[in-house]
């Protein structure tokens, strides 16, 4: 029973540490002497040899490390090559449209327009290579400026950013007037 627990502890420690751990430290952690600890590890190694196990303990100059078995390599390549599904969610589309029409723009400015933290969306768009960093704004904190990539232009068949349909200022003025009118119908006094 106690030996089983020791095995479990060693497995958990090697898993968490990732790197090679010296026998001495392992022995301390499981409250056994080094000789016993070595024996426990040997026994574990035998168990890991089973075909149903995909990982193994290797010994490196008196240290031990957990790693995958060489025979598993193909499976690992396989899973990393399964294409992930990427979609432009509403959140991403919204953020992309802001960057396209307002570039160069800082993260903070994007967040002001959207009204919520947008790190996640910006990171995803960077990963998708739809936006890129354009440099830094010459202001306190020197925030990063974002803009769209050439890839973005190419995909929309644009030669340059000038070709983005403009949001005309009149329309903006319209929106404002509209909002004011609506507000007037609702006059409150103290």
């Amino acid at each position: 029973m106690d030996l089983k627990l020791a095995e479990a502890r060693i497995e958990a420690i090697l898993f968490t540490m990732g790197e090679a751990v010296e026998l001495e430290r392992l022995a301390q952690a499981i409250d056994h002497d080094e000789e016993t600890t070595r024996k426990i590890i040997r026994n574990m190694m035998d168990k890991y040899d089973d075909v149903s196990r995909g990982i193994q303990i290797i010994e490196l100059d008196g240290s031990y490390q957990l790693c995958t078995k060489a025979s598993m390599y193909e499976s690992i390549i396989k899973i990393t090559h399964i294409p992930k599904k990427h979609v432009l969610t509403d959140v991403l589309l919204e953020t992309l449209s802001i960057i396209a029409y307002k570039q160069p723009i800082t993260r903070l400015q994007i967040e002001e327009i959207r009204g919520v933290k947008s790190d996640h969306a910006i990171n995803k768009l960077l990963e998708y290579n739809l936006i890129c960093e354009l440099g830094r704004l010459d202001a306190p904190g020197r925030p990063i400026l974002f803009g769209t990539t050439e890839e973005f232009l190419r995909c929309f068949g644009l030669k340059s950013l000038d070709m983005l349909p403009a949001v005309n200022p009149e329309k903006l003025e319209d929106f404002k007037l509209q909002a004011e009118e609506e507000a007037e119908q609702l006059t409150l006094d103290i």
Binding site: A12, F15, T16, G18, C67, Y73, I76, I77, T80, H81, P83, K84, H86, V87, L88, L93, E94, L96, S97, I98, A100, Y101, I113, R114, G115, E127, Y128, N129, L130, E151, F152, C155, F156, L158, L164, P165, V167, K171, L172, F175, K176, Q178, A179, E180, A183, T187, L188, I190
Partner: protein, 258 residues
């Protein structure tokens, strides 16, 4: 009753209200509104130095309590068949819901405590595999998204944002913090009362220039009613409120016992 608890400890008006209910060991379904309102106002008074935004949230709750209190003081309408709803019901529902979330958040806290003992391992994908990063096909990602669509999304965002700007309040200009203390206002009202004896609520309001001053004046009046130093009368709803000053001297807030 002296209740001195750090106000920072409260997350908001509901939290404060729950605290008062717990402290008095009152049934949540049967809140003695008058008592609680008094205690509640007592707390807010200590908040004077707080920023306006937080203060206003507490004041809204105070107003709700006062509203309920006044509705309960009104004679019950000759009951037609329909049963009149207890004016406290809405508040009770809100409090119960809030209490519920406080309760589950405690449970979640325990779960988090347990889960924090489970450890994970960062990815260790061999470099040559990781380097072989899948190319993201941007045109496929964009799919049938057109520039018009993107433009539409942007325009609606801009529209939404301009709607968000409150055309009334945006004309107020800068909000400046004024030093209005309830203690000062409390004395000013009494001075006015001593001089005029009988006056109208409107007379008092005419002297106030800002919304904040009006609120503080109103709180002062409530206090004086509670202390029995003034009497108020109102003939009909929305009529001006007639105030009669009963006392023959002026007391400070400390002397009034808070």
């Amino acid at each position: 009753m002296s209740i001195r608890v750090k106000l920072e400890a409260f997350e908001g008006p509901l939290d404060l209200l729950l605290h008062l209910i717990d402290k008095n060991k009152i049934n949540i379904y049967d809140i003695p509104i008058a008592e609680i309102t008094d205690q509640y106002l007592e707390y807010i008074k200590q908040m004077e130095e707080k920023n306006l935004e937080i203060m206003s949230e507490f004041l809204v709750m105070a107003a709700t309590l006062i509203n309920i209190k006044s509705r309960m003081l009104l004679p019950a309408a000759d009951s037609e068949d329909e049963q009149e709803e207890d004016p406290r019901q809405e508040l009770v529902d809100k409090l119960l819901e809030y209490k519920m979330f406080k309760y589950v958040s405690e449970q979640l806290k325990d779960k988090q405590e347990d889960a924090s003992k489970i450890l994970f391992k960062p990815p260790t994908i061999p470099k040559e595999i990781a380097d072989f990063k899948e190319e993201i096909d941007v045109s496929e990602l964009i799919g049938d998204l057109t520039l018009e669509k993107l433009h539409e999304i942007f325009s609606s965002l801009v529209k939404r944002q301009s709607e968000k700007i409150d055309p009334i309040r945006s004309k107020f200009g800068k909000i400046e913090k004024e030093e209005i203390s309830l203690a000062d206002k409390f004395i000013q009202i009494q001075e006015y009362g001593l001089k005029n004896r009988v006056f109208y609520f409107r007379n008092l309001l005419e002297q106030q220039t800002t919304r904040m001053e009006i609120i503080v004046t109103f709180l002062g009046i409530l206090e004086l009613i509670r202390l029995g130093r003034i009497m108020i009368e109102q003939e009909r709803m929305f009529d001006d409120i007639k105030i009669t000053f009963l006392a023959s001297d002026i007391i400070t807030m400390e002397e009034a016992g808070f």
